[in-house]
């Protein structure tokens, strides 16, 4: 399957019905994307496909052909990443890669409601979400939204 992964052209041989999550973690060695439930409920496995935030546990590998996939390892979101640690938006950290992928879709200066809507598909058990909102506000105040990856469009 030929596609773009974190800005680089790749050609990966894997069964088309395997979960994208497993291909990323096992075949590509990118373990930053996490499995929390396997049912598309927790959002820990979130990645971007052509700039859209999706749960990779529900994407059959066949469907990324010709697409651009961005994982936490490849996302250009350093202000968000720094803010998550500084504002304690990450406690145990297992939901954090998925959170950052989802948060990266927000524009500048998001309202509380916009953050709630964007992250409604990402479960956190540690923070109660308040510090996550603080982290996103801090990052998105520092000069605009971080770009998703080298090429987000299709």
């Amino acid at each position: 399957m030929r596609f773009r992964l974190n800005g680089a052209d790749v050609d990966i041989d894997a069964h088309p019905m395997r979960r994208l999550l497993d291909v990323l973690r096992e075949d590509c060695g990118l373990t930053g994307t996490k499995e929390g439930c396997g049912e598309g409920e927790c959002g820990a496995c979130s990645v971007l496909i052509d700039g859209d935030c999706v749960v990779s546990c529900l994407v059959p590998f066949a469907q990324v052909e010709g697409c651009s996939v961005t994982t936490i390892e490849g996302i250009d979101a350093e202000p968000l990443q720094r803010a998550f640690m500084d504002e304690v938006g990450a406690q145990c950290g297992i939901c954090t890669p998925g959170m950052i992928i989802a948060a990266a879709t927000l524009g500048a200066n998001p309202t509380r409601q916009e953050m709630q809507q964007a992250l409604a598909g990402n479960l956190c058990r540690c923070t109660g979400y308040e510090a996550i909102f603080r982290a996103i506000r801090a990052a998105k105040r520092q000069g605009g939204a971080p770009a998703a990856a080298a090429d987000a469009g299709r």
Binding site: R19, G38, D52, C53, V54, L58, Q63, A102, A120
Partner: protein, 254 residues
């Protein structure tokens, strides 16, 4: 291909089917991937009929100016399905084909008398929504047919939608209702209160007489809710009646 190869399961956004596959509860092993079929994503107007491609995602419904203008309650339903991740992959065709009693777009489609466009190698046919389901997760599609679009005629009147889930987001409906009210006529449809979506025609008749109390009582007889791991029949029945009253109150011109 569907005709030739027999038991191929169509796969689109994979937000329902793939879960069953990964949990080992799906017995089929052969799939046909519809995702790349861009032609099935179009949302457009033909005369007074809104045509929505089967592969239109919930996100595309939410963003579509046409859908927002003409069927805002479909946007309301799409907004309450999962989070952005599910909305970006789940499709209206998938919601219809999956036929879950809790499918959130289904009461909307029932209330607007939508028409399902099914195509095979041989022909294309238009199936009124009311005649599409034959039972729990069962429909009239032939093995060689695919849903390619759903058509929604112009909707006359005020639209109303409410989903009652197990929590505020990412929730399966316990009761879900779509309603349209225009002058003396109402259309009312509910999900999660029976094996298939219920178009409550007797209730509508009572509403047409202006008798909300009779309508609420009638509704209790037209639905067959059950106890399950998410809720109780008693709760569903009472809340369905409450939703009806809320619909009636909120669509009554002040």
């Amino acid at each position: 291909m569907l005709r030739d190869d027999g038991a191929l399961v169509p796969l689109a956004g994979a937000t329902d089917l793939y879960v069953s596959l990964n949990f080992g509860t799906l017995t089929q092993t052969r799939f046909i991937d519809l995702w790349p079929l861009q032609g099935l994503r179009r949302i457009g107007l033909a005369g007074d009929v809104l045509s929505i491609g089967a592969l239109a995602t919930y996100t595309s419904l939410i963003r579509s100016r046409l859908v927002r203008q003409r069927v805002p309650m479909l946007v309301a339903a799409a907004r309450e399905i999962g989070g952005i991740q599910i909305q970006n992959r789940g499709t209206i065709g998938g919601n219809i084909a999956n036929g879950s009693p809790a499918g959130d777009t289904l009461p909307v489609l029932a209330a607007v008398d939508a028409v399902i466009v099914a195509r095979s190698a041989a022909d294309e046919r238009r199936i009124p929504f009311a005649g599409f389901y034959t039972g729990y997760r069962a429909n009239v599609l032939r093995p060689d047919e695919l849903i390619v679009a759903v058509e929604i005629p112009a909707v006359d009147g005020t639209q109303w939608f409410r989903k009652v889930g197990t929590r505020a987001a990412q929730a399966i409906s316990k009761v879900v209702m779509a309603g349209v009210r225009a002058n003396g006529t109402s259309h009312v449809a509910l999900g999660s209160v029976g094996p298939v979506v219920v178009r409550a025609r007797e209730t509508e008749a009572a509403l047409a007489r202006g008798d909300i109390d009779a309508a609420a009582a009638t509704l209790g007889r037209e639905i067959t809710p059950i106890d399950d791991i998410r809720s109780t029949a008693d709760y569903r029945r009472r809340v369905a009646a409450n939703l009806l009253r809320q619909f009636w109150a909120e669509t009554t011109p002040s």
